[in-house]
């Protein structure tokens, strides 16, 4: 979903094209457009690898460095996930991205009544360090970077990752984990939040501060415009909201007495690709440029590398359809092309069967092959920023930049992202956009192949990933055994210390690492925070 609105005449000729971000596209672009927008090569683009990085973060783009493919993977118990990790690595995947099941994301142990029916369903179930030891067995953690898709308790999972890696003999300085650790976007779009806004943001800050000192190769936060876009916002809002969220986290850490320069270079972003190709390419180019410029202006960041908008540009699930599911393979290929034309460092795709359930092995490998075909067969590594200098793309990039700034200003007017989320402003705006979009789709003003045009009536059936009820039983059994076996006194003590740190405003990370090493469970650690911080109440938005 997410293409532009087209206004046509009776002969099917296109009269007007309006992108989702509200920009109108002209039928022809010429050098006059560049003149109109005041285009200046040095100021607006710079050479690849040079400020403001519009063209690329690296002078030689993909020639010097192929992108990292990091398909979102995980289901069942840690054993199933470990097998799928190894399978994807053996097929040429170069990074991991762990999917956790909902109980884990929400800080419940597998035997909690709240976990019923969900254990191992949409990701891997993790109750304790023991599970991480199984999931990452025989994986070279000094070579393979790992995304941890978890937010409310990202602190717990990063601590567990460190504890696990150290147990396997890796040094904490050499491991590279990217916990998602973006709670504000969960409150806007993905819904896996637990604690109220302020303590949640403090936990994000704890992870950033700790990583800066102890985990130099980890990327402590992955700011996700992706999920806000999935929830319905426009591409310009996606970037605007992501930047406002990032500023909130930066401010939290700066308030602890650090300079942004010391840590912001490890920030990464998770951004979305679906919809209009040109709008997305322009969005990414504008985002790289704006991020570098804003960090310089607002926080005085000078170090070149600290200005990089690094991250994963991934194919959005909202673009995929349940109808004619094979079309999703083709959509995925175009999203991947868009990622490559945009200079994505890291990428991933939703697999073609994800409108139904989590991907089968086959579907996940097709996504991987899509990327490999682009880079190894089609020529996307040949030259850096191939669309650079196009009258159209440069004009659109500039217009996107303006739209993004406009949306940022709206958030800043109401006092920044904490206020915008607490009051429900962003949630309301996103829901409104989603509804308007859906209506336009249903009225046929936006075309979605196989959904409202070129339909075939009967849906084809696809082979689906099967959920196995036995996974939950196995996981609960392991948890019960662990609880019997571990040193109860040590667990009690480390949890008590964690509680004290949480209450006294100390950085909780070292205490979490101790808890993990003593085999405290995810639920136990999350509940310490529940007791200290309480739970968030969503603002009403209707």
């Amino acid at each position: 979903m997410g293409v532009a609105t087209y206004i046509k005449d009776e002969k099917d000729a296109i009269k007007e094209v309006i992108l989702q971000s509200g920009i109108k596209i002209k039928p022809v672009y010429t050098p006059e457009d560049l003149e109109r927008i005041g285009f200046d090569y040095k100021k607006d683009l710079g050479d690849p690898g040079e400020f403001p990085f519009t063209r690329s973060l690296y002078p030689l783009g993909y020639r010097s460095r192929n992108w990292t493919v990091r398909q979102y993977t995980g289901f069942g118990t840690p054993e199933e996930t470990n097998q799928r990790f190894k399978l994807m690595i053996s097929h040429g995947q170069t990074g991991l991205n762990v999917a956790f099941d909902l109980p884990t994301q929400m800080g419940y142990d597998s035997d909690d009544p709240m976990a019923e029916g969900e254990v191992g369903r949409v990701g891997m179930a993790v109750d304790s360090l023991e599970d991480f030891q199984i999931a990452f067995k025989d994986i070279e953690l000094n070579r393979i970077g790992t995304g941890l898709t978890i937010n409310a308790i990202a602190s717990v999972m990063l601590a567990m990752y460190q504890a696990m890696a150290e147990g396997y003999g890796f040094k904490k300085e050499e491991i590279s984990a990217t916990p998602q650790n973006d709670i504000l976007k969960e409150m806007i779009g993905r819904g896996a939040w637990i604690y109220p806004v302020e303590p949640s943001v403090r936990l994000i800050g704890d992870v950033i501060e700790y990583s800066m000192k102890e985990l130099p190769r980890c990327n402590p936060v992955s700011v996700c415009g992706y999920h806000i876009r999935e929830s319905g916002c426009t591409p310009a809002q996606e970037i605007a909201y992501a930047f406002e969220i990032a500023f909130t986290y930066i401010d939290n850490v700066v308030a602890r007495g650090y300079e942004a320069e010391q840590f912001v270079g490890r920030f990464s972003f998770n951004l979305n690709i679906y919809g209009n190709l040109w709008e997305n390419v322009a969005k990414f180019r504008a985002a790289r440029k704006l991020w570098a410029r804003l960090l310089r202006e607002r926080y005085g960041v000078q170090n070149r590398r600290a200005l990089f908008l690094r991250g994963i540009f991934g194919g959005g699930g909202s673009g995929m359809t349940k109808q004619q599911p094979e079309n999703n393979i083709i959509r995925g290929a175009y999203y991947a092309l868009c990622a490559a034309l945009s200079g994505a460092q890291t990428t991933a795709l939703c697999s073609f069967d994800e409108a139904y359930t989590i991907p089968t092995e086959r579907a996940a490998i097709i996504s991987l092959r899509t990327f490999q075909i682009l880079m190894d067969e089609i020529g996307l590594r040949d030259t850096v920023d191939p669309l650079g200098g196009s009258y159209f793309i440069e004009t659109l990039t500039k217009e996107m930049e303006e739209k993004i700034l406009e949306e940022m200003e709206k958030v800043e007017k109401i006092g920044g992202m904490i206020e915008a989320v607490s009051s429900g402003y962003v949630q309301r705006e996103v829901a409104r956009q989603a509804y308007e979009y859906e209506k336009r789709l249903q009225r046929g003003e936006i075309t979605k192949v196989g959904v409202n045009k070129y339909t075939e009536g009967v849906d084809m059936e696809v082979e689906l990933h099967e959920y196995d009820e036995a996974w939950a039983e196995k996981q609960i059994k392991r948890l019960k055994e662990l609880k019997r076996r571990r040193d109860q006194k040590a667990v009690k003590h480390s949890l008590k210390e964690l509680e004290r740190a949480a209450r006294n405003g100390k950085n909780v990370m070292p205490y979490l690492v101790d808890c993990c090493k003593d085999y405290a469970t995810v639920g136990e650690m999350a509940n310490v925070f529940r007791d200290v911080f309480g739970e968030w109440q969503e603002p009403g938005i209707f």
């Binding site: 929400m106 369903r121 359930t357 859906e438 959904v451």
Partner: protein, 136 residues
Amino acid sequence: MIYMGQRKVRVLIAKPGLDGHDRGAKVVSLALKEAGMEVIYTGLHQTVPSIVNQAIQEDVDVIGLSIMSGAHIPICRKLMEELKKKGVNGKLVVVGGVIPNRDIPALKEMGVHGVFPGGTPFDEIVDFIKNNVKER
């Protein structure tokens, strides 16, 4: 009908379980409101007993569940049991979300009245509710 006697049709849109993807729930809520119904949205992370309690307290005519995690079968089963346990009758139960076609018969069999997988036109949902909601 939009009006049941003197009052508007009342719908509880609920997000059971831990799944937090609420675009569908919010979009459908807005569509039902625009169609003239009164919509109460529970917010995220609701337990089945709490949904049933809210349905009773708010005296709704329709309970609409939105489920994206794949756990629609166990959640719906639990809801139907809870409604029975609490002696709640006459409420229309509908479900939407990421629901494979092959699961629809099982959901209908346990007493779910309407199943609307992602992408169902708003009109279809609105018409279904209008035509099936019980006069009281």
